[in-house]
Amino acid sequence: MATEATHGLPPARRLSLQRLVTAAEQGPLDYGSRLWLKVLIGLVFVALYAPILALIAFSFNDSKRNVVWQGFTTKYYLVAWENQALIEAMVNSLTIALMCTLFATVIGGAAALLLWRFRFPFKSAYEGFMALPIVIPEICMGVALLVFFARMGRFMSGFESGPIAWWNSLFTVWPLNLASIAIAHIAFAFPFVAVVVRARMAGFNRELDEASRDLGASEWQTFRHVILPYMQPGLIAGALLAFTLSLDDFVITFFTSGPETVTFPVKVYSLVRRGVSPDINAASTVLIVITLVATVLAMRLQRSERN
C-alpha cells in the first residue's frame, strides 16, 4: 500500500515518505513492532519471573548448598516430603488458607452487600474503617493482634474447670489450635474481598432486582437467582485474593503463631537462617503449583458457569 502511494517519487524522497507512512500505520497499540518497547517488556518479565524460575530450577539442583548448578535431580522433593516439620507447616498453611478463604469470602461478601444495598447512619465512616486493615502497616496489625490474643488467652486460662475450661481445651487440638492465626488472617483478608465485591456490585442494574420481584420472586429467590450470580465473579476473585494473602503472609502470622503452630512462610524463614537448601526450593515450587492450579481451576469454574 505504501509503495503504491509513493510510486512516482524520486528514491530518496520515496524512502523518507515510506518511513513516515509506516510510522503512521503503526497504531499506538502496536507496541510489539518497536524494538525498545520489546526490550522493555522483556526486562519487566525477567524482573517478575526470573526469581521464580530460578527458584523452581534450583529445586532440581543436585547440590546441598544450592549455590552453583551441579546437575539435575528430583531427590530434594523426596527430602522435602520426608521433612516432617516442613510438611506439617505446609498442611497448617493450607488449612489456615482454606479457613481464611471461606470465612473472609462470606464476611467480605456480606459486608459488601450490606454497603451496597442499604443506607444506614455512619455508613461512609463504616466503609472507611472497614478498609483500614488494607492500609494499616502489617507490623501494627501483628502487634495489635498479639496483644489482643495474649489478653484473651490470659482471661480465658483463668478458668480451670467448667465449660470455659472445656472450651479452652478444644483449642489445643488440631486444627482448632490454628484458630488464632486463622482469625488474624480473616481480619485482614475480608476487607480485600469486600472491596472487590463492592466494586463488582457498583455495576449492578437495580432494575434487575426490581424485575425479579416484579416477576414474583421473593427477596431470597431474588438474592439466590439474580444478585448472587452477579456477585459471583467478584466473590471468586476475592476468595482467590484471600487464599493467596493468607498463604504467603509472614508478618502477622509471625506475631500470632505459637510454638506449636508454625506456618510454611514462618518455617521457611527459620530454615533459611541456616542456609537455603534445595528441599526448601522444592517445597516452595509445590506451593507455587498449588496456587497456580487453584487459580486456573477458579477461572475455569467461572467460565463454565457463564456458558
Binding site: 420481584r213 416484579d214 416477576l215 414474583g216
Partner: protein
C-alpha cells in the same frame, strides 16, 4: 364514562412525596379492562412514579390503588397481578432467553411440565422462537426488549406495565415496535399501561391517554379528543404543535363569541361553553392555509403576512409567517406534489383558517 365494574385499575387520590418533593399529587383515574392506556407527560411529571406504584415498587404516601377488585396497599410487588417491562429491559444477563422467560414461572411455583409450553408460546408471540438459547449479550436492543415483553406476558398478568419501552430504540425500529405492541395488545387481550414522554407514541398506540404535568393529571381523553380538543394550554402545547394567541372575549355574536386576539384583531369563534375574560386562541399549524391572494369564504379568519422562515421536513414544510402586528404563526404545508409551491423568506402571503378549527382555551 368509566363505570366502576369495568375498571381493572382504580387509582384513588394517590399522592407520593419524596422528602419534600411531591412527585404525584392527588391523582385519581380508572383504567378499563383491555384498554391500551398511556401516561404521557414531560420528564419529571410523575408518570413513572405512578407506574412504579402500580407495580408496588414504590409505596404511595396516601391514597389507594385497587387492581382487579383488590386493594393493593399491603401487597408486595411479587404478589401483584401486574408485570412490568422496564426501561432498561432488565433482562437477566446470566440467563439465556429461555431461562429469562421461564424465570417468573419457576419462582412462582408453576409445575415444571407447564413451564416449557408456556415459555414456547410466549416466545412465539414475540417471534423469538429461534433465538431461545441465545444469551442476552448476543441480542440486539430490539430483541432484548422482546425478551422483556415475553418474560412479563408469560405470567399472564391482569395489567402489563411498560416504562418508556421504546425510548432506547432507533426511529425505524420504534415505529415498527409501536405497531407490534398495539397488535400484541389486541391478541393477548391484556390491559397495557404505557409510560411515555413521546406524544407520537401515545397518540398512535393508546386508546386513552392521561396527560400529566407536575404530578397532576391535566386531561384524560382519547387521542383524537386530546389533539382536537385539548383542555388547557399545557395540553395543547404538549400534544403536537399549536399556535397559541393570547386574547380577550369582548362580546357575543349569536352563537359565537367575539374575541380580540393579539396581533390578529377581532374574530368570531364558536364556543361550546360560555367564556369571558382572558383566553387563549389555539389553532394547529396544519389547519392554517397559505395563499398568494386574499382567500374568500364565509367567516374565514385571515391575515396578511410575510414569510420569515421555512423548515423543510420532506413530507411537510413548516412556514413561519409574521403578521403586520409582529405576531408569528406557524403553518404546516403538505408537500403533495414533487414541485410544490415554494415559499421563500420575504414572500407576501395570506394566512387563513376556519373558525371551526379554532379552540378557545381558558386555562
Amino acid at each position: 364514562m368509566t363505570s366502576q365494574n369495568d375498571a381493572v385499575v382504580s387509582i384513588r387520590n394517590i399522592t407520593k412525596m419524596f422528602a419534600d418533593v411531591t412527585a404525584v399529587d392527588n391523582v385519581s383515574l380508572d383504567i378499563e379492562r383491555n384498554e391500551f392506556f398511556a401516561l404521557l407527560g414531560p420528564s419529571g411529571c410523575g408518570k413513572t412514579t405512578l407506574l412504579r406504584m402500580l407495580a408496588g415498587l414504590e409505596r404511595p404516601s396516601s391514597g389507594e390503588i385497587v387492581i382487579d377488585g383488590e386493594n393493593m396497599a399491603a401487597t408486595p410487588p411479587n404478589k401483584r397481578p401486574v408485570n412490568m417491562v422496564f426501561q432498561s429491559y432488565a433482562v437477566f444477563p446470566h440467563m439465556s432467553v429461555e431461562q429469562n422467560v421461564a424465570y417468573g414461572l419457576k419462582v412462582g411455583g408453576t409445575p415444571a411440565a407447564e413451564i416449557g409450553p408456556r415459555v414456547t408460546e410466549a416466545l412465539e408471540m414475540v417471534r423469538l422462537g429461534p433465538l431461545r438459547r441465545r444469551m442476552p449479550d448476543q441480542l440486539s436492543g430490539g430483541q432484548r426488549q422482546r425478551v422483556a415483553l415475553a418474560r412479563a406476558l408469560v405470567k399472564r398478568p391482569k395489567v402489563l406495565l411498560l416504562d418508556e419501552p421504546l425510548s432506547a430504540l432507533d426511529a425505524k425500529l420504534r415505529e415498527q415496535m409501536q405497531l407490534e405492541l398495539t397488535r400484541l395488545q389486541e391478541t393477548v387481550g391484556i390491559t397495557f399501561v404505557i409510560v411515555t414522554h413521546d406524544q407520537d407514541e401515545a397518540l398512535s398506540m393508546a386508546s386513552r391517554i392521561a396527560v400529566m404535568d407536575r404530578g397532576r393529571v391535566c386531561q384524560i381523553a382519547s387521542p383524537q379528543e386530546l389533539y382536537e380538543r385539548p383542555a388547557s394550554r399545557f395540553v395543547a402545547d404538549f400534544i403536537g404543535k399549536v399556535n397559541l394567541i393570547d386574547g380577550e372575549v369582548i362580546g357575543l355574536a349569536g352563537n359565537a363569541v367575539l374575541c380580540q386576539a393579539e396581533g390578529l384583531g377581532e374574530m368570531a369563534l364558536p364556543a361550546e361553553v360560555p367564556v369571558s375574560g382572558r383566553i387563549a386562541v389555539a389553532v394547529r399549524p396544519e389547519k392554517l392555509k397559505l395563499s398568494a391572494v386574499e382567500p374568500t369564504g364565509p367567516g374565514l379568519i385571515k391575515s396578511k403576512g410575510t414569510v420569515r422562515d421555512v423548515a423543510y421536513y420532506g413530507d411537510t414544510s413548516n412556514v413561519f409567517v409574521e403578521t403586520p402586528a409582529a405576531r408569528e404563526l406557524s403553518v404546516n404545508v403538505q408537500n403533495e406534489r414533487r414541485s410544490p409551491t415554494v415559499y421563500r423568506r420575504g414572500d407576501a402571503v395570506w394566512v387563513s383558517w376556519s373558525p371551526e378549527d379554532t379552540l378557545i382555551l381558558t386555562e
